[in-house]
């Protein structure tokens, strides 16, 4: 269809430029995030390689069958050790390959004896202390066995002699490069008691997400109840409590300031009392705040992180801007009808103020979720850390791995992303009515 509008000179050029500039800026902004998402699904060797890969590759699974037929009966520990040797040693020797998991099945006289499974998540967490070097022998594994067991790094199920139904004897030996490397490793080193009868290589896309599981195992190592997600839970808990306080007491104070105080002078003094605190930056009260928490015996306690967030002039500023515009007649009518101030507030003011409550919740959530310096200073033990502190610690840890850091980053942006997508409209409206300008 032909447009009947007269196109102004330069209009098309401006339109094209505008789209181009917008798209370029959006790509620039999102590119690092895409890189983060991709690296969280890559193995570290692909990220660190001199020619890094840009797309994740589905990790490989190696399934090994060890046959003990014709050998003397042994106890569980013996077989466990053999399975661990077949897992950890060749993996360490082939760490540059993108291995997702190694499964070992023990067979004796046609019956399944045991099976074991180790995934990349556990291997990379355990590697620095289970197989720190390329020294592979029986004694090394003997020494490390308790640690593997204790930390639950490899899953090992023992069925016992002849307890399982007979299984078919399959003997496929993989002829893919990695499979061949494994076979070569086993035949050269002669570490295993069982005979390698089958070695199958496959791919499992589930192992793409092992960095996310690694984070969790890593934190459990640091004696935190439920892994890295504990830190996120801490941050979330802090946010929820602070938001609850601001939406209750922040709103009440602002409402009183805006509608209940009658004397102009008192109003001004109280308003200034709140707003003047915006001038006091967090870093300026860092030391007295720490000493205060020490006096209150709150150092290394989540409440020490929470409490200072209760005093926030900006929230009063936002609320008051909104409450000032409430129709006075309506409130007056409620009072004439004999409603108490509290009732008026609960029944009339709150339902009318959903937009400002949303804005305050979001504006509180962002800085509290991002907060780093104060929790870093005031929390000591792992179980009180927020995720920001934990992530900063991870980069300085024994073996900082790019894919773990990326995985942590991806998880850390999910709550804010949800909040933003859920409240975009409210934020845009809020910018108009509250006149946020800073």
């Amino acid at each position: 269809m032909k447009s009947h509008r007269i196109i102004e000179k330069g209009e098309r050029k401006l339109a094209v430029t505008s789209y181009a500039v917008t798209v370029v800026f959006i790509i620039l902004g999102i590119l690092p995030l895409v890189w983060m998402l991709l690296t969280s699904m890559m193995d570290n060797e692909s990220i660190d390689a001199t020619t890094p890969k840009f797309l994740p590759d589905i990790p490989r699974t190696i399934a090994i069958t060890l046959d003990y037929s014709g050998q003397q009966d042994q106890n569980e520990e013996f077989y466990r050790k053999d399975a661990m040797k077949a897992t950890w040693f060749p993996w360490m020797a082939n760490m540059r390959e993108n291995i997702g998991e190694i499964k070992v099945t023990g067979v004796k006289d046609g019956h399944e004896l045991y099976n074991s499974k180790t995934t990349a998540a556990e291997f990379y967490v355990g590697q620095p202390f289970i197989v720190p070097t390329q020294v592979f022998n029986d004694n090394v594994m003997k020494a490390k066995l308790p640690r593997i067991k204790e930390s639950g790094l490899s899953k090992f199920t023992y069925y016992g002699q002849g307890n399982k139904a007979e299984i078919e004897k399959a003997s496929t030996l993989s002829d893919q490069p990695l499979g061949k490397q494994f076979q070569a490793f086993f035949s050269e080193r002669k570490l295993l008691d069982g005979k390698v009868t089958s070695l199958v290589q496959s791919r499992n896309w589930l192992r793409l997400f092992d960095s996310y599981r690694s984070l969790n195992i890593l934190a459990s190592e640091a004696a935190v109840s439920f892994g890295f997600y504990h830190y996120f839970f801490n941050s979330l808990l802090i946010c929820v409590i602070v938001i609850a306080w601001q939406l209750t007491f922040g709103a009440m104070a602002s409402y009183a300031l805006s509608q209940l105080l009658r004397s102009k002078k008192t109003k001004f003094v109280v308003l200034m009392y709140f707003l003047a605190t915006i001038m006091i930056p967090g870093v300026s009260v860092l030391i007295p705040q720490y000493l205060l928490m020490q006096k209150l015996n709150l150092v290394d306690n989540l409440w020490a992180v929470i409490l200072p967030h209760f005093a926030w002039g900006f929230v009063i500023f936002l609320f008051k801007g909104f409450f000032d515009q409430l129709p006075k007649e309506l409130l007056q009518a409620a009072r004439v009808d004999g409603a108490s101030e509290l009732r008026t507030f609960l029944r009339i003011v709150i339902p009318m103020s959903v937009p400002v409550f949303t804005i305050v919740a979001v504006m509180t959530f962002i800085p509290v979720w991002n907060d780093f310096l104060w929790p870093y200073v005031v929390t000591k033990s792992h179980h009180n850390w927020t995720f920001t502190v934990a992530m900063n610690d991870m980069q300085g840890g024994r073996n900082p791995r790019a894919n773990w850091i990326s995985a942590g980053g991806v998880v850390s942006m999910i709550p804010l992303l949800l909040v933003f997508l859920g409240t975009q409209g409210a934020i845009e409206k809020g910018i108009n009515f509250t006149g946020i300008k800073g």
Partner: protein, 317 residues
């Protein structure tokens, strides 16, 4: 006679007004003696936390700054303004001040204008405008610490993405964060990629609030679309820009998280800023007195900037 009537009437009126004022006085005195509890109860929790976590703390900072603070047996030896003189004389402080200033200049050059440009062009985009606005928010959703760690890895001189990509076009290798002259630039650069976030929405709202008639009038006068941007939009959002600039300034002066996580102030104090120095003197060197003096100095600077920002805001309204 007529006068008398008038007088009578006047007296009656006077009596009436007297009664009225009396009544008013009564209600007023009742209001004075019957304290209205609701506003007080509504205000009290906030007044208490603000007192404890703001006023008490800043006064305590001043108090601590006057002592050679001893954490074991506080407050230690009184030194008056000694702590202030000490940091003013120390070389590290002036290095930190210089760095803070350079950070500020770099941030203005690399980051500050980004949301303005983004909003300017976004306001000319008609199709999928809401969608683009959402996309602009996404980079800002990544927590600062996580973002910094991501960038830190990309900056890695041996294994990082940047040196790899730059080598492809024959540049580098660069030391990035390890390079004395490059580290400040490398710390500020991510802000350019992250873009404006909420700032974009703010400028966008300001541009959209310019009345359409103004544009129409300019159009009729033969003012082209590019020229309109310059002579109508920019002057109309000038004030918003100014207010944002003051806020941006205090933001840069207070920046701690990104620098601390990236470099901890290194290499060789090349990225040390005042906020970092406060943390370091207190919690690494345990010199609480000097750190408190620095804190108070910082407070004065930020207070001046905040007052300026509020003044501008009021003028704008």
């Amino acid at each position: 006679m007529g006068n008398q009537v008038e007088l009578k009437q006047g007296a009656a009126a006077q009596a009436q007004t007297q009664a009225q004022t009396q009544k008013q006085m009564q209600t007023r005195s009742r209001a004075r003696f019957n304290i209205r509890w609701t506003p007080i109860l509504f205000l009290l929790p906030s007044i208490i936390v603000f007192f404890v976590f703001k006023y008490y703390l800043i006064l305590d900072a001043v108090y601590i700054s006057l002592f050679n603070y001893d954490i074991v047996s506080p407050p230690g030896k009184f030194v008056g303004l000694g702590n202030y003189f000490e940091f003013l004389k120390s070389e590290t402080f002036w290095v930190a001040m210089k760095n803070t200033f350079i950070f500020f200049l770099l941030s203005v050059a690399i980051v500050f204008w980004v949301p303005i440009v983004q909003a300017l062009f976004l306001s000319q985009v008609k199709r999928f405008n809401g969608f683009y606005r959402v996309l602009y928010q996404i980079p800002g959703v990544l927590p600062v610490v996580a973002g910094v760690l991501l960038w830190k890895w990309m900056y890695n001189p041996d294994r990082g993405l940047f040196n790899y990509l730059l080598a492809k076009i024959g540049l580098g290798p660069y030391g990035w964060l390890n390079d004395l002259h490059m580290t400040k630039f490398a710390i500020v650069l991510p802000g350019f990629f992250t873009g404006g976030g909420i700032g974009v929405l703010l400028y966008y709202a300001a541009i959209k609030s310019i009345s359409a008639e103004l544009f129409e009038a300019a159009k009729i006068d033969g003012c082209g679309p590019w020229h309109r941007m310059k002579i109508i939009i920019l002057p109309n959002i000038k004030f918003v820009i100014l207010i944002q600039f003051v806020g941006f300034m205090s933001g840069v002066l207070l920046s701690f998280d990104n620098i601390f996580v990236m470099t901890q102030g290194g290499p060789a104090d090349a990225s040390l800023v005042v906020a970092l120095m406060i943390q370091r003197t207190a919690f690494v060197q345990s010199r609480f007195g000097i750190s408190a003096a620095l804190s108070f100095f910082m407070f004065i600077v930020i207070a001046v900037l905040t007052v300026l920002q509020f003044r501008l805001q009021r003028e704008d309204d």
